[in-house]
């Protein structure tokens, strides 16, 4: 049991049995309260799959659960149940569209009536549920929609001996629906991702639709997909969206899968870096024995320069010799970290990704010595309020193994 999802509410469709039930329980194990949506409200047979059975199982894990029985092709019923979930659990943070109709039939055997059903359950219902769940998510600026797709809907699905055009077309539609929604919703903080089993999951739904001819190799237990869904909704929705995540690929990349991994394909559908500004790139100095003492001096908040033990002269950049008396007796000594702006430019050109423009590049003249200067950035003040001669003091920015000496205005002298 973990508590990574504590306080969050997940609505899972198809949660009375199979993959949906596994997902509901996995989310509950990680702390989520769960709304269980499926067609079979109760079962006369003890232990048989039903909404009520899953609700009990979630509650047995110590989480709140709400039964939301409905037919996903019935818009009114779906809308009603979502309203009830919101009334009882207060919110929906995670929507998992797992319910699906399977049709392992070819072109000739797939009736158009069956095709309508496939469309209604596999595409239309996820769309409606997303619409219903979205207002709260966008209001909070955070949310996860996870749609269960199928590898056969990806181009690489051609490697899998599946035809089944009706079923595959609706899963492909769901993938593209997710893709387009992810693009649109990214600015709101809501993520839309697709997960899919990497192999054949022998659930009851598949068994009902399948015969021996469709028993595929590479079977995987339903918990793989459940863990995949849980991992996806643990991610920051602003950073992880528009992805197609296959279960074994993910688990292998997390080191949670024994045996030969299928591999974590880059199945990204949306390059979110196009939408969210990347972390500003700091090109960092390569540390050498000669320069490391300067670049790591800020670890204790004290700026240090190479210093001559014989004549007291500071030399920068560091070198193996005092630049004034040529003594080799040099080390590093602290300075006050205070000085004045000697030269300044307001840079407007995007040289490096992620830097907010404009920014100030300056040469700061340290107080200790009239030729001890450092190129740096002046931060913390609007660029147009900084001028040559202004008093500044060092502040360090820690990146990896480097403490970059930046400067801010000193303010009124004491």
């Amino acid at each position: 049991m973990s508590d990574s999802l504590t306080g969050r509410v997940a609505l899972v469709t198809g949660a009375s049995r199979g993959l949906g039930r596994e997902i509901a329980l996995e989310l509950a194990r990680r702390g989520a309260d769960v709304a269980v949506m499926a067609r079979t409200a109760e079962s006369a047979e003890a232990g048989a799959p039903s909404v009520a059975a899953t609700v009990s199982a979630v509650e047995a894990l110590g989480r709140r659960a709400v039964a939301a029985p409905c037919d996903l092709t019935d818009d009114e019923a779906v809308t009603e149940q979502v309203a009830r979930v919101l009334a009882e659990l207060g919110r929906i943070d995670v929507l998992v569209n797992c319910a699906g109709v399977v049709s392992l039939t070819g072109v000739a055997e797939t009736t158009v009536k069956r095709l309508d059903l496939l469309w209604k359950v596999n595409v239309r219902a996820p769309f409606l549920l997303m619409q219903l769940a979205l207002p709260g998510m966008t209001e909070r600026g955070s949310g996860h929609v996870v749609n269960v797709g199928a590898l056969s809907s990806q181009w690489r699905g051609t490697q899998i001996p599946l035809g089944f055009p009706g079923y595959t077309a609706t899963k492909a539609a769901l993938v593209r629906l997710s893709h387009a929604s992810a693009l649109e919703l990214h600015p709101t903080g809501v993520a839309v991702n697709v997960v899919a089993p990497s192999g054949f999951v022998p659930t009851q739904g598949w068994r009902a639709a399948s015969d021996d001819a469709h028993e595929l190799p590479n079977q995987e237990p339903p918990e793989y997909l459940a863990r995949t869904v849980a991992w996806v909704v643990e991610q920051d929705p602003a950073a992880f969206t528009g992805r197609f995540v296959d279960s074994q690929g993910l688990l292998a990349s997390l080191g949670e899968l024994d045996g030969a991994p299928i591999g974590w394909d880059d199945l990204a559908m949306v390059d979110v870096s196009r939408f969210s500004p990347p972390t500003p790139v700091r090109v960092l100095p390569e540390l050498t024995p000669a320069t490391a003492p300067f670049w790591t001096a800020g670890a204790d908040g004290v700026l240090r320069f190479q210093h001559c033990d014989d004549c007291g002269y500071f030399t920068h950049p560091p070198s193996p010799v005092c630049a004034r008396c040529r003594s080799r007796n040099v080390g590093f000594a602290p300075v006050s970290g205070r000085g004045a702006v000697y030269a300044l430019t307001e840079n407007h050109h995007p040289w490096l990704p992620g830097w907010e423009l404009p920014y100030l590049v300056a040469a700061v003249q340290l107080d200790e010595q009239d030729d001890l200067r450092l190129m740096t950035n002046i931060i913390g003040s609007p660029p147009d309020t900084v001028g040559i001669g202004d008093r500044v003091r060092v502040v360090f920015e820690h990146r990896e193994d480097v403490w970059l000496p930046l400067f801010e205005l000193e303010g009124e002298p004491a």
């Binding site: 972390t279 390569e286 000697y342 407007h348 050109h349 190129m375």
Partner: protein, 402 residues
Amino acid sequence: MTAPGERDAVISGIGQSAVGRRLGRDPLDLTVDAVLAAIADAGLEPADIDGVATYPGAQTQPPGFSGVGVTELQDALRLELRWFAGGLEMPAQLGPVVLAALAVGAGLARHVVVFRTVWEATAQGDGGRASLAPGAAHGPQTEAARVSGFMQWMAPFGAPSAVSWAAMAAGRHFHEFGTTREQLAGIPMTLRVNAARNPAAVYRTPMTLDDYLGARMISTPLGLFDCDVPADGSTALVVSHVDTGGDLPQPPVRIEAAGTAARGRVYRDQWDDYTTMGLRDAAAMLWERTDLGPADVDLAELYDGFSIIALYWLEALGFCARGEGGAFVEGGTRIALDGDLPLNTHGGQLSAGRLHGLGLVHEACLQLRHEAGARQVPGDPEVAVVSNGGPTGGALLLTGWR
């Protein structure tokens, strides 16, 4: 004082490839065009060439900054060399010219091809960043990108480009001497007027003060038109021993003096005086090696990678007092083709294209040979000063053959 050794050499031939934006041609292809043109201009055959010198030598970064070294040219033309040199750590792009002069003076070679090739416009045509200084990280940047050498003191602060230090220097000049952008505009605007008379220039349409001031700010106080324009092109010279001069079909250009000093601090973040950069040392040394002085100079081809650098050269070479460069170039009258000191008569790197140094030498030779056509400086000019580089750099005083 014995005569300076550089007077043992002359520039006996000049050549240039096509120059332009996005020519899409291989840098060696451009180089061969320029080199064969220069050899022919000198009245020589490739077999006569026994030396090659180039800046910065073959290197792959920054994109389009080089691409051709001595080896590529030597092999392409199967030159039989007695002497060669290529590299970056020299008095800027004039370094190989000076080395070639010394080589012919010392008898190591008789006719040395000197070339400089750039194809930055094509190499950066995929949207790659423009003109990062050598040593900066390129391509997709990651947090893991690391830099060493002098770049480590600048790139971590978002200043991987030459414009960062040039702009800081300009800002310091503005601060100390009251120089203004309106004054500085005199350089790019005058050069644009010159470029209109140069069919090979990249930018030839007139530029108003409003155009200049309204252009995109790059790094205060330098805007877009204070930065030279990346171009593709190759320039070549033939440097020969002075005693061949009379035998050649072209009147060669004499090398009167060279300035090659680096005396102050040369790290780009550490100049002792941001209002002179290191180029003041090369400029001072130039006048130590000749009886001529600034008043004898008929025209100036001064490095203008950024407008402010040309202004610094004007001050450093003594055409005006230190700090008075702004007033000197204001309005452009003094530096116009018909002014007291015509500057960058082909449009400079700011308008004609960033051929990186040797383009300025090429233009000085054309002017001293009185072959500059519509942009020929009037009055049969005899003395030209050429400078390359900044922060550190080199300077040459060139004279006509007469």
